[in-house]
């Protein structure tokens, strides 16, 4: 019995050496001269089996299969979006009615209690839904951006809490949410036409989806998924280039952050075309309220709002990566990649937001 076990182990070791490490049968037999007679025919059989199975699907089939799979995935994604995208297909007035209803609900204890809930809590989806409603009801780009800044603050608090509790899955999802909100913020404070498009866009499908199913992350750049990544290449265009590389080629920064085509069609709202009053560039570290000029009252209000936003963003830009780095010390190795990514993302996104705010100040 023992001898047989020993032979099983020797055979397995030799198979590993021949099949995986590319050693020859002779090399293996030399290591086990006593078992060579018994080993040799088995190893020869293994080798010929390996050679017979050294086959691959035909390249033209691979191309076709890849194309079909992409098309199927796109269809699945569209179905999923349709199922959840309540706000995107309902008429605008329905969105407003639902928003009002949720607002009314806000007076109830549930919504109030949800305000402090954490990602592992049962009321967390309510909290996210409430946030969405607040975003829908905030008309201006700067107002929305400010709200996103506050939400980012909440997300960081949640990440810290989840890390403390050792709930890594929730922590990782919250970091994704944080990232999505920062990206949305960049879009809002970016060039006026982009911000206008974001404002006129219906709430992203993820909004309802998130409320209904907490694991799904909020992803404002949905168009990246649908328009860029998922677009199936025609069979003739499907080359041997791996799909990931194709995505990389297509995912230009503009494509990643640009609003969906349907959104872009809508003209920007008048109020958003009003240029923000010119101000001096504000240093990132010490965001100060810019010097006033002779401006209409409305523009002055916007300048104040922008300066206010800069203060919040500059504070967050320091505070958030710091808080996340603190968390990094506590979490196990498996959770580090997600956190490191969140730190890198928040650094990058805050930098972009501040730069966009400065640029808008120059207009």
């Amino acid at each position: 019995m023992q001898k047989e076990k020993e032979f099983d182990n020797i055979l397995d070791e030799c198979l590993e050496r021949i099949l995986t490490r590319g050693e020859t049968v002779e090399q293996c037999l030399a290591s086990y001269p006593e078992q060579a007679a018994e080993l040799e025919p088995l190893l020869q059989t293994a080798l010929s089996t390996k050679e017979t199975l050294a086959i691959k699907p035909r390249p033209e089939f691979r191309d076709r299969a890849r194309y079909q799979l992409r098309a199927a995935l796109q269809e699945m994604e569209e179905k999923r979006q349709r199922r959840f995208a309540f706000f995107s297909w309902q008429p605008q007035w329905v969105t407003a009615v639902v928003a009002v209803l949720i607002l009314l609900l806000a007076s109830s204890g549930t919504v109030a209690a949800a305000g402090n809930s954490m990602p592992d809590g049962t009321l967390y989806p309510v909290k996210l839904a409430t946030e969405k409603v607040r975003l829908v009801l905030t008309p201006s780009a700067l107002g929305k951006a400010e709200l996103y800044a506050n939400l980012a603050d909440k997300r960081v608090t949640e990440i810290v809490k989840m890390a403390d509790k050792g709930k890594l899955e929730q922590m990782e999802r919250t970091t994704q949410r944080l990232n999505a909100q920062l990206v949305a913020m960049v879009s809002l404070v970016g060039p006026p036409e982009e911000a206008a498009a974001v404002l006129t866009a219906p709430a992203p499908p993820a909004a309802t989806q998130e409320a209904a199913a907490p694991p799904v992350t909020e992803e404002p750049p949905e168009e990246e998924k649908l328009g860029v990544v998922l677009a199936p290449a025609p069979p003739s265009a499907a080359k041997e280039v791996p799909a990931v590389a194709e995505e990389a080629q297509e995912a230009r920064p503009g494509a990643a952050l640009a609003p969906a085509p349907s959104v872009a069609k809508e003209p920007p709202k008048k109020r958003d075309e009003v240029p923000v009053a010119p101000v001096q560039p504000v240093p990132e570290e010490t965001p100060a309220i810019p010097p006033e000029r002779a401006e209409p009252a409305m523009d002055k209000g916007k300048v104040d709002k922008r300066a206010e936003l800069m203060v919040i963003v500059a504070r967050n830009a320091v505070k958030h990566p710091e808080a996340l780095r603190e968390v990094l010390k506590k979490v196990p190795e498996s959770a580090r990649p997600a956190l490191l990514r969140a730190i890198a993302d928040s650094d990058a996104e805050y930098e972009k937001i501040l730069e966009a705010l400065r640029e808008r100040g120059k207009d």
Partner: protein
């Protein structure tokens, strides 16, 4: 400018846009990859597809001995898997491919059951349909004959022996991984591997 490397997740300096441009990093561990795939992350789904396609294909070829049919079945395995990936529950230590092999196995059982009810196609005809598009049709036919012979020999093994041979040689799984897929101990898988090789040797030399 930072270059996005396979382990760029570990580099906090890598910017988000660059990350996106590169189509995302290679996912560090399988659990994280699967989690992303469950959220319909296209890069994760693509990675799963590219990493497993050939292995699943070989696994099916070995079981049914028909390369053309195996191509379509492989495609079906991935379509079924991705359609129901949301319901997949990750178990630490068990490779994700175990699930794919299970789906493939079910499809094979289904295929063989249906095939047994259909009139059989002469082997020469099936070879003709298999060996299309090759630069050397003679070599392709020889290869198909070898595959058919191997598949036919494996069918004479016990179910467990067949599974070990398929997972080890076609799926390129280690003994530990095959043991997880089959729900057996590593020792049992090694013993099955031994007995399967002995039987296969006999069957192939006799045939």
């Amino acid at each position: 400018m930072h270059r996005v490397t396979p382990n760029c997740w570990l580099n906090p300096e890598v910017k988000l846009i660059q990350f996106r441009l590169a189509g995302g990093c290679q996912v560090q561990d399988e659990e994280s990859l699967v989690r992303r795939a469950k959220e319909h992350d296209q890069a994760a789904l693509t990675q799963i597809y590219e990493e497993n396609f050939d292995k699943i294909y070989r696994y099916i070829v070995l079981k049914i001995g028909d390369r053309t049919e195996a191509e379509d079945m492989t495609q079906q395995v991935f379509l079924s898997a991705f359609k129901s990936i949301s319901s997949f529950k990750y178990r630490k230590g068990t490779p994700f491919s175990a699930w794919l092999y299970r789906i493939a196995h079910n499809q094979i059982v289904d295929y063989l059951r249906k095939k047994s009810k259909r009139p059989t196609v002469p082997f020469e005809e099936s070879l003709a349909s298999n060996s299309s598009g090759s630069s050397d049709p003679r070599l392709e036919v020889e290869r198909d004959l070898a595959i058919e012979q191997l598949a036919s020999a494996t069918r004479h093994l016990t179910k467990s022996q067949q599974e070990v041979i398929s997972l080890r040689f076609a799926g390129e799984l280690s003994v530990a991984q095959a043991a997880r897929v089959m729900g057996k101990s590593e020792g049992a898988v090694k013993a099955l591997q031994h007995s399967a090789m002995v039987s296969l040797r006999k069957l192939l030399t006799a045939g």
